[in-house]
Each structure stands twice: as structure tokens, then as C-alpha cells.
Symmetry: C2
Subunit: 495 residues, 2 copies
Amino acid sequence: MGKEEKIGITVKKDENFSEWYSQVCLEQGAKLVDIRYGVQGFVVHRPWAFKILRRVYDYFDEEVEKDGHQPFLFPTVIPEENLIREKEHAGFAPDVFWVTEAGTEKLERRVALRPTGETAIYPIYALWIRSYKDLPFKGYQSRITVFRNEKTTRPFLRGREFMFYETHDVFATHKEATQQITKDMEIMEEVVRKKLKLPFIFFKRPQWDKFKGADETYASDTLMPDGKRNQMSSTHDLGQKFAKAYQIQIQDENGKEQYPWQTCFGPGIYRIMAALIGIHGDDTGLILPFDVAPTQLIIVPITFSKDQEKTKKVIAKCQQIKEKIKNFGYRVEVDLTENSPGFKFNNWEMLGVPIRIEIGPKEAEEETLTIARRTSREKKKIKIAELEKEIKKSAEILEKEMAEKAEKYFEGKTKETNSKKELIEIMRTYRGFVKVPFCSISSDGEKCADILKEETVGGCVCGIKLENPEKAKKTDKCVICGKEAKHIVYVAKSY
Amino acid sequence: MGKEEKIGITVKKDENFSEWYSQVCLEQGAKLVDIRYGVQGFVVHRPWAFKILRRVYDYFDEEVEKDGHQPFLFPTVIPEENLIREKEHAGFAPDVFWVTEAGTEKLERRVALRPTGETAIYPIYALWIRSYKDLPFKGYQSRITVFRNEKTTRPFLRGREFMFYETHDVFATHKEATQQITKDMEIMEEVVRKKLKLPFIFFKRPQWDKFKGADETYASDTLMPDGKRNQMSSTHDLGQKFAKAYQIQIQDENGKEQYPWQTCFGPGIYRIMAALIGIHGDDTGLILPFDVAPTQLIIVPITFSKDQEKTKKVIAKCQQIKEKIKNFGYRVEVDLTENSPGFKFNNWEMLGVPIRIEIGPKEAEEETLTIARRTSREKKKIKIAELEKEIKKSAEILEKEMAEKAEKYFEGKTKETNSKKELIEIMRTYRGFVKVPFCSISSDGEKCADILKEETVGGCVCGIKLENPEKAKKTDKCVICGKEAKHIVYVAKSY
């Protein structure tokens, strides 16, 4: 950031979200990723993004450990025979990268770069878990990446290598497994809604959209400003399928061999980051929750290079205030680059720094300074004696403003209809969910889902709401086939 | 840990270190890794080990960020053309794994699994670093793994995938680069000597043993109980070689293009773990510093199943003490498994838990308990009122005992000679460093090093000591060729 380079976003978020999103992520924006690495879909995560992502990882680590999960780390590669042992799950194989050579030699058996952890982890679980006394067994991997050969890629939405998180739990009964699904939802509430201020709905996915090899998939979806659903997490009820495929067996209290029940939970670190960018951001750039921001407060000296004496005083005051704020326990910086104050304001707003403090020659003389929140940008002159209290207050108001704005945004993004014609019409321009009566989310509904997708040019059946689900009336007919509608489902386009 | 399985180490550390080490790492020991994953050299890091390793990572993160490094994350794969652009460094290519296929398709250009980060990172540095104002530029990657096709593999000593840490720094002058090398050494002192209580010596490596592509390599070596040197870190003075190969250029204050100077520092997370196991451990298992241990205190109820009333009281007391200790801010557990107290003692000693607390029926009645350190195992009855003070004191004594024992061990592991015959004789059975006069650590000394290696069956010239180096006397002759000795070098066998 030495020289005053051209930065800034040239499009409005509402007018061209896709371009806005790219600009925020890249060089001219918040420099979150570098896509010039030279291998498609493999990006460099730059410091500002990495620090935010690390914070999100830490939040989840804290919650899953509170819930009794133990951390571990499995290899990045998976033997081919593991990968295809669960029949439905074997469907992953066409998307995986294969390591086939080492040095100048061909490997005897090729290995895959993990597309997800089940097939690496469960053969080892079969060795570790032997008795009902070993249950429940809860493990997780954090700060890892996985690999899938996606056709199209976009920062934090779809990558060939992307940041991953996975918990893998084993229970003696299916009841405990379903309780874990609720627990996983609570973790999402705690981290994503409470800490990151992001709204979402939990869905039970249709059978045709579940995780390969699972009995059921539960997922949390939010909506991006372009109206596309963004799946921010999933928990899979694996039933006993993987236990049977990988021979995980326990001796029960009577000494009988039993297959246990499994679940796995994956908060989508990347997708959550995409939502953080897309939902909270504005025309100027990112907006970050106070606790998430790598730099929570930025101090900008308002100096006039003509008067060197005054400038010196201002800088000294900035440094002094910085030390003060550091001692309060916050992450704070002074911007001492040669850029103009206006450039600096733009730059730190682009990065989403929650609170800005301005100190000019007048403030340097008095015991005051100017404070502004990233959300409203409203400036306020305060006394230095009240700084700690004012920072706390500003942070609280900022987070409240963020949460309210996000919830309001999300609430306004659902329509409903029971006419196919109207659905098609709505989906042509609408950016959000459309609730419609639908015949079935079991496999017999897939045909209707395919038709729906085709006629709405990409509309997906997200599933049925898990909490306070809308119930189909007896008279409701499937919006596609006209047969009895068992459910009210949510439809949205998807990434 | 449901049933009382057979655990415990069957050999003495001094008598058969190699076997002792394996047993501690595996199933019958502290369950640090699982080597039954099915791909040679790719191991599973189990929770106990992972928590220790994560702590070590955190220590380094804290220090390198204090020193101004920014975290980032680069892709796991490296384009082939990057990997071979620096001529000397291209020597890595024979050891790398290649990703050549995706799904059923052959990739247009194969990519390598990173063996180390330079060739992934520096082409991007060339885009980021443009002006002297961008310098110094300090970045790092933590919690990553790298891949090398090693012939033989051992837990934490040599793996085909292993845990990695790397900082990559760019400076305007060579002077600043050399100052960074000192700074990196200070970080090693802070983390490895102070926090982990591990002794080591800094060496300047001979030219033939430097990092491929570096001008000079500086490394910290410790000695394992089998006398083999264990390189725990290295800092490479890259000079301008990589800058030239990857076209990292800066505009200096006069607007002229210049190549900057680079260093990179890699604490060997795996090797540090090996030292932690090997140097601190004893015949019973691991011994961990108080701050490093995943569980710092274990409470063992001493119960007699016959008297259920008493047992209940003991358990209640244990829970109560656990909550108390938790509130002090320590990581504590109560062992409520059905195992015998003796089995429990063994198990937690195996895991290296620093402090054990025993509570029996008598302690449950009184306001007392028994406390013992993992180091001396000496038991002490203390009053509960003094618990916090006693834990603090025990932790301090334990860490002091660990540091003293390790330093004493290390000091006693260096001999010296100036006779080749004696060197060969010593190296036949001795487990440690041998100091000898040596002609040169520039490339002209390589021939002597090769002869030395052959005649001592594996002795390596580790280099010359960086701090308070022993100076060769004018009369000293190279222990191999008999020519003038420029240095006193350290010789040891190596992994």
C-alpha cells in the first residue's frame, strides 16, 4: 500500500452483484484472494481474508469442542479402494484429482486428493471404535482444504481447492444421532447467526439432493443478493450405511456386535465467507462484525503537510490513542502511509474495518477525537476520557445494525405461489425464495424437480423448512404435476 | 479407553530407543499417530498428538506475528514450470508427487503437491511487491502439510506428508535479511528452548548441506537419545537468487529497479514433536511441559468398589475439585473409567500429563488431597485451601526439572578429537556430537565430508556453531585430509 494506487469498486452492489463481488474479492477491492496463481480454481488466500477465515474456524473449534469433539488430522490423500467402498458415495470419484506419479516413477496404486473426509476417516474409526463404551465418539478436522474438479470456479463460492471443516460422530442409537443434528444446528445458530450476523433457514433436503451415501441431509441456506441460495452448512444423517461399508462395529452391553449410527457436520467455511462478503457488504466494500475484523479500529491522522509542527503533534496523539486502545484489548492500527485522508477512509471502508477514529490538529490540542461506525458512517466527537465506553457502545450498535439489516434483507426475500405459470414468471426476475406446494421430497418427486428446474431455468427445490415448517393444505396441489402436495417447499436458484 | 486394554511400553528408552520411540507413538503407547492408514508415510494424527502440535503452531504464530509477519494460505499444488524455475532448487523435483488426472481425464499440465512453498509463493510476491515502500514484506503459512516421496518413514521424523511451517520475508538490503536470521533464532529460543524446554545448537551448514537454491543455510540441531542429530529449524539466506528467478523487483527511492533480498524460516513442527517425545520422555512414556499438555491435571479417584457410599463421596469430591481447578483456568479431567487406579496412573503417565491429583475416601472427608508431578512422581498431601498455589508451584518445579534434565542431557553429549582414527572409533558407539578440526565448509570441503561419512558409517558434518564458535588453532589440521583446518565442525549421525 505504498503508493496511492487506483482502488475502489466501480459498480453498485444492487445493480451488478456478480461484478461487485468479484471486485471486492480482488486487487482493486479488499484483496481477499489472488486468482493469478496459474492453476484454475486454486487461489491464494491473502492476509486480510485469511485472518477473517481463521476467526471463523476458531469460532467453530470452540463450539464443537464444547460439544465434546476431539480434533485430529487425517492424510490429504485417499486410497482409491477406500473411496469407492460405499456404493452411493463412490459417485464422488468422477470429481477427484488423482496423484499417480512420484518423481519419475508411476505409483503402484494411485491415490485421490480428498474430496471430503468420510472415506479416509471411517476405515480408521473401524479400528478405534470397538465397544459401546467408546461411544459416543466425536472427532473433527479444522483448517483443512479439500479438492474437487469443479467446472466453473469463483472466490469462496466454488473452488477446485477450498477450505473445509468436518465433524464425524458415531452413536449407539439413531436417536442420539438425530439429537446431534439438532446440536449441529445450535452450533450454526451460535457462530453464524449470533457472531457473524448472517441469516439462514434450515432445510431438510429432498432425497435427490442429499449427500451421496447419506440417509438424509439437513442444510442451512442463505440467499445472496443475486437471489441465489448459498448452502452454508450441512449435517448428514448417515444411518448405518458407512458403518456397514467400512465395517465399523461395536460390541453392545450384551456382547453382541452392532453397527453404530453416524452423522457428519460440515459448516462451509468458504460459503460462510461468501455470505459475509455478499450480505453485509455495501457499494464501498466489506462490512465486518466488530469481533471478526482483523483490524477493529483504524486511526486516521488528519494532517496538512504544510504545517510540520502540527503534523507531528497529530501523529504523536494518534500513537498515544493507539496504545490506549491496545490496552483495552482491541486490534487497532494507525494509518501512517503517505496517502490522503480521503484515500485512507476509502481504503479502510473497503476492508470493512468497523470503527474509524479521526484525529486532526484541533483534536490533538483538545482531549477529544472523532469516531465513526462503518455501518452508518455518522461521525461523533467524543472526549478521550470516554473512549473505552464509546468504543464498546459503537461496536454494539454496529453489530446490532448489521444484524437488523441482514435479517430485514432476508425476510424480504421470500414469495409464494401455487401456480406454475406464476412461479416461472417470478423466477424470471425475482431474487429470492419462492414457496410452492410440491408433491414429494422422496425420490418420487425428482421428476417434478427436474421439470421445475428446466421450466424456471435453474430453480432448485431446497427442501422443506425444519423449524416451524409451513404445512401443505389438503387442497394444495403440486405446482408441477398437479397431484396432492405433501409439502410446501422452497425454490431458489443455486450456485 | 473403555476396557482395560494392554498398554505400556515393554522396552527401556536407554536400551532400545528406536523401539521405545515407536511404542510411545503407537497404539500401545500414547496413541499419537495411527500408521494403519494404508498409504506408506501418510499417517493419522490422533487427538492427543494433534492438540500438542496445535499448541506448538500457536506458539510460533504468536511470535512471528509479533515480528510483523502476515498469515496467508497458498494452494497445495504447484505448476511444474514454477517448480523448476530456480535451477538449484529444481533439484526437489525427483522427490515430488504429481497430480496428473482429474476424474477420468488427464490434466493438460500436471501439478506437484508442494514439497515446500518457495516456488508457489514467489511468483505471487512478484505481483505484490513493487516498491521499496512495500518492504520489508513478511508473510507466513501455518498449519499446512507438505509432501515428499521419502524412501523410509517414521512418525514425526520423516513422512511423505508432514506438518509444515514457513515464513517468507523480503528486504531491501542484505543487512536486513541477516538481521532477520538473528530474529528467527530468537523465535526458536523463545518457543523451543523457553516454552518446550528443548536444548539445541545453531549451526551454519556446510555449502553441500544447504537448502537447494539458498546462499547459506542456518539450522538448529538437537540430539535424540540415539545420538542422531535432529534438525528442528532452518533459516535460509536466499540472497537474490529466487528474486532473480521469479522476477521479484522493486523500485528503489531513486526509481531504479532492484532485486530485493530474501530469507525464509521453517521451524520443523514434526521434528520438534519428535524431540519433545524423545528428549523429555522416560521409560513410562511422554513427559509434557505444563503449558503444552492437552490435559494439564488429571484427577484419579481412589475408590474401593465394595463401599458404594464412600465411592460416591469420592467421585463427588473429584468433580468438585475439577470445577475448582477449571476456574483457575487450567485444563483438567477426572478419570471415571472402570479401570483400576494403577492402570489409570500408568495411562496418564504414558500421556505425559504433568500433574496428577489423587482423592481417596480419607481425602473426601478431610479438606486435603494428594498431588504428584509427572517428573519426580513424588507425592505430597496438601490442603485444598492451598490448591491454586500448589498447582502453580508444582507446574513451575516440573518445568524447571524438565529444562534442567534436558540441558544436562544435551551438555553431556559432545566429545572432541583431532584424530581420524579416534573419530571413527568414537562414532562406532557414541551417541552424540564429536567436534573435529575440518578443512572447509565451502564446497571445497565436500570431498572430505564424503570420506568422513563413509569411514564413520554415516557421520555428517553439521557445520560450525553460530554462537560462541570454537575457533580452529593455527596448528589444527583437517581430521580427514590433514590440510589446514579452517573450522571446528560438529559431526553426528543423522536421520
